[in-house]
Structure formats: C-alpha cells, structure tokens
C-alpha cells in the first residue's frame, strides 16, 4: 500500500470518456478471461456438478447409535438438556416408561420439527453424551407443511459409521471422549468393586 501515508488522492479522470473506456476494459478482460482463466468462470452447473461441502458444515441434527441395531446402540439417554436449551424449542422428548410407570433412561419419542429448527447446533454443543450431531443433508423438501417436517426418532437415527465418514475429525474427537469416559467408568467400577 504505497499510497501517501496520510492522504489517498483520488486522481480524477482528466480525459472525458477515459473513465468509461477503462471501465469497459475491465468488463472486456472478464469477458475474454471467462473463456481462458478458470477464476473468471466460477459458476457450477448445479445438479450435474456439486461443490463439496466443507467438513463441519451443518444443516439439521440427527441421532447416533453404535453398532448396527438402532434400538440397542442408541446413545441418547433422554436427559432432555437439549430440549431445554434449544432456543426455538423444536425438540420434543418423551421418556420410555417401564412396567410400573418409572421413566427409564431411553427416549420413547424423540421428535425434531425441522420447519422450526434453525440449525444453530446448540443441541450438539450441550449434549453431554455426543448422542446428537449435525447432518449435511439439504435437499429435504416435502409436499406438506407440518406432518412430514416433524422427523421422528426412526428417521433421525443414523449409525456412527455415517457420522465418521461425514466428518472424520469431529467423530474422532467424539469417539476419543467416549473412550475416555468408558475407561473412567470401568476404573471407577473396579475401584468400587475392590473398595
């Protein structure tokens, strides 16, 4: 920026019409450039070619389960922190009741109304069990306003492998955390058994 330190003098176009011609020179450079220089032809023909999404781009949340059986490997323990913290209150959870009505640590109903959800990712941030993560799906238009946009637990559940290939670094960090957690539980259990 070698301009004079204290002043930026804007040299007026001394020749009438020279400004317009210089301006059209720029458009001509872009016109010719678009045939030769890739940086001057930036659009992509959408359905055919698609720009790759960066790793941690987010659209709507989804639930994670380990292993291959969705019900068994479900990580969510229905602690309802995400339901409380969600700003537009679009998550609705109902605990599973065992035979004598005592709530168990599993969600029977886990609905997310994606017409209300603003993909702000706070539920992922506050979830202590890494049970919910942000997906990268965006072509999800439906033909009705309310019903299809309320995703139920079955539609939300996706395996951990999907999350691992969706965003490698975040899933690695999440798995490391869960490993450390499980190791601590196990050590505490032994300490408990020994002590």
């Amino acid at each position: 920026m070698e301009r004079m330190a204290s002043h930026y003098r804007k040299s007026g176009g001394r020749w009438l019409g020279s400004g317009i011609l210089r301006g059209m020179g720029v458009t001509l450079k872009n016109w010719i450039g678009s045939y030769f220089d890739p940086s001057r032809l930036v659009t992509v023909c959408y359905p055919g070619e698609r720009l790759p999404l960066p790793e941690n781009s987010r659209s709507f949340p989804f639930l994670i389960y380990d292993g291959d059986d969705p019900e068994a490997g479900l990580r969510c323990v229905a602690c309802r922190i995400c339901e409380k913290e969600c700003p537009p209150e679009c998550i609705h959870i109902e605990n599973e009741r065992d035979e004598n009505g005592k709530p168990r640590k599993r969600p029977a109903v886990f609905d997310i109304d994606i017409s209300v959800c603003m993909s702000c990712q706070i539920c992922v941030e506050v979830c202590p069990f890494d049970a919910i993560e942000m997906d990268q799906i965006y072509a999800i238009s439906t033909n009705a306003r309310f019903e299809p946009l309320r995703l139920h637990k079955e539609q939300l559940l996706k395996p951990n492998e999907y999350f691992r290939e969706l965003s490698p670094t975040r899933s690695a960090a999440a798995d490391a955390r869960r490993e450390a957690e499980r190791a601590k539980q196990a050590k505490k259990k032994e300490a408990g058994k020994k002590g």
Partner: protein, 369 residues
C-alpha cells in the same frame, strides 16, 4: 419476373433479421453472463441454442393480461406501430451484391421519417396502460427519443454532405476502393468519420432506449416504464421492436461509416459484400451488448444535458470539420485541419465538463489515531 426476385430478397432479409433477433436475444444473455463470470443459458439444447425458441413459446403461451381500465384498442395497436416501421427500415439498408432491396434516392430521409414513428408507439403504450408509472415512463421515453433525433440527423448529414447524395447505395459506392493499396477509404478512417461514427453509435443507443440510456425501463425507479402493463406476446413484440431498432441503427452506422459491403482488405474481396455487411452488423450488436453490461444508467436531466450541451454542438463541429476535409481534398492536410478542429472541440468540452463537475479531484485523509 422482377417481382419474384423482390419477393425472394424480402424473404431472405426478413428471415435473416428474425433469426438475428433470436440469436441476439440469446447472445445478449450469453455475453452478459460471460462478462459476469457465469455461463449463461445452457440447459435448453446444446449450450443454450434452443433458448430463443423456448422464450418464443413462453411468450406465446403466457396469458396476455390487459388492465381493466386500459384503452383496449390503443393497448393492442401500440406494439404493431412499434415494430412495423422498424421492419420497413431494413428495406433500404445497402447490403450490396444484389441483395439491396430498393435504392431510394431519398434513402436517409426515409430512414429518419419512418424511425420517428416509433415515438408515437411509445406514447400509445404508455397512455393506454392507464397506469401512473407507465404515463411517467412514456413521458420520459418520448422526451429522450425526440431530443436524440436532432444529433442523430445532424451526424448522419455529414456523410451525405461528403458523398453528395441521400441514397445509401451511392454513399457505399463513395466509400469503395482502397487508398495506397491496403487501407479502405471508409468514412470512419477520416477525422470527422471517427467522431461521427461514435456520435452515431451513442445516439442510436439512445434512440433504441438501450443502456446507458434505458431510462424509461429504469427498474430502480419506475418498475418497467411504459411496458409495465404488457405481458405475453405484446411484450415480446416490444422486445423485438427494441432489437430491430438496434439492428437498424447499427445497419445505418455500417452503411454510413463502415463502408457497407466493402471488404476491409483488397484480398478479402472474394467474400460477397452482404456477408461483410452482416459481419460488421453483428460486431456492432456485440459492442452494444458489451456496453449494456458495463455502464450504469444516466439520470433524465443528465441525459438531456448530454444531448443538448454535448452531442448537438459536437455534431455541428463535426459538420464543419467534414466541410474542411472536403474542400482541403482529403490527405494529410485534411487530417491536420479537420483533426485539429475536432481535438480542439474535445479539449474545450473536456474543460467545461470538468470545471462544472463540483470536485472531480477528491482527497481522502487516512487518519492514524
């Protein structure tokens, strides 16, 4: 017998210009896109070639909404009165090589007489839509077109004075032949020719309401000016009228200054003259589209100032320069005299505009604290 030939010629010319209209509407969107670093229509047919057909069908199918309070007859007549004279103009353009339709002795006068009818069409369109915006737009459009007819005619008179006849074919013959073997003596290669060509190009832009003079359809102020209440095929007709206006203006510029069907180099003369005419026409239309993509719109009062304080005086000076060129017999002394006069006029205009512009020279202080 000659009736058949005439019919054939008319057929050729009309098909060519309607094809050119289709291609130009596609080329406009493609060139605009390429200037803006994007691809432009490429979904309908190979790289968008069937797009004009698609547009045409769309325009035909689209419902033609006429406002209830509108004046039906006038509303219907306006597009016709807009397009008909434009098509007449193609009759007298000197394509050369036997394709010239008719060699009117008063060719140029015919051109201006017919092209001034389109102002009535703009009025009819604006007035019959019974919409406050379109009346406002029509008023501006007529003021602009009538004002820009004065410099257009003045500039077109200079080649008439040098060639000595109003007929366009005679003017093209006057520009035939090559000086010192290689340089074609087109009028554009003379001092007054360059200035005349630029003025003619600028005024024909204004006549056809194209950027930077497309004030009537100034989207940013009055939605679509006098075309607000038109839809469907009538709108397409106006669209076609505007394009034919550009073709006619460019055709006139080619005929008067770029030597009609003449080939730029003697060894290229084996290509028939009407092909050269069309190449030059297409190049001019390309420049019109290029101008459209890069210049903002002028305000109505600036537009009028430019016309009355800029183009008309320059056209008079150009007339005098052409006279000096004519009587000094062309050649280098013509260049010095006419050229000097024109450069002096440009410098004087330059100083007047810069002094009137309040503070061209702007200083911006870069505060450290």
């Amino acid at each position: 017998m000659w009736l058949v030939i005439i019919q054939l010629k008319i057929g050729i010319i009309l098909t060519f210009f309607s094809l050119l209209f289709a291609v130009a509407s596609l080329a406009e969107r493609k060139i605009l896109a390429r200037i803006q670093n994007r691809r432009g229509p490429n979904r309908v047919g190979p790289c968008g070639l069937f797009q004009p057909i698609a547009d045409g069908i769309k325009m035909l199918i689209k419902e033609d909404v006429v406002p209830r309070k509108a004046d039906r007859a006038l509303h219907f007549l306006a597009p016709i009165v807009m397009v008909a004279p434009m098509v007449l103009l193609f009759g007298i353009l000197p394509y050369g090589g036997g394709l010239t339709l008719v060699d009117l002795e008063v060719g140029l006068l015919f051109f201006f007489a017919v092209s001034s009818v389109s102002e009535l069409a703009v009025f009819m369109a604006g007035w019959s839509s019974a919409n406050k915006y379109s009346v406002f737009g029509a008023m501006r459009a007529i003021a602009q077109m009538v004002s820009y007819e004065v410099p257009l005619v003045l500039v077109a008179i200079t080649p008439v004075m040098v060639a000595g006849s109003l007929s366009l074919v005679h003017m093209v013959e006057d520009q035939a032949g090559y000086a010192i073997g290689v340089i074609p003596n087109w009028f554009v290669l003379t001092p007054w020719g360059i200035v005349g060509f630029l003025l003619l190009f600028v005024t024909s832009l204004a006549e056809a309401n194209r950027t930077p003079f497309d004030l009537p359809e100034g989207e940013s102020e009055l939605v679509a000016g006098h075309l607000t209440e038109y839809s469907g095929f009538k709108y397409a007709l106006f669209f076609m009228g505007e394009y034919f206006g550009i073709f006619a203006g460019s055709g006139l510029a080619v005929a008067l200054f770029l030597g009609g069907g003449g080939a730029p180099l003697p060894l290229l003369q084996w290509i028939p003259p009407y092909l050269w005419f069309f190449v030059k026409l297409v190049v001019l239309v390309g420049i019109v589209i290029w101008v459209r993509a890069s210049l903002p719109r002028m305000r109505i009062d600036q537009l009028m100032d430019l016309c009355w304080k800029g183009l008309v005086p320059l056209a008079f000076v150009n007339l005098i320069a052409a006279a000096i060129w004519h009587y000094s017999g062309g050649g280098w002394q013509g260049w010095i005299l006419a050229g000097g006069l024109l450069v002096g006029a440009y410098l004087m205009l330059n100083r007047v505009v810069l002094r009137s512009r309040c503070s061209w020279e702007r200083k911006y202080y870069l505060a450290k604290s």
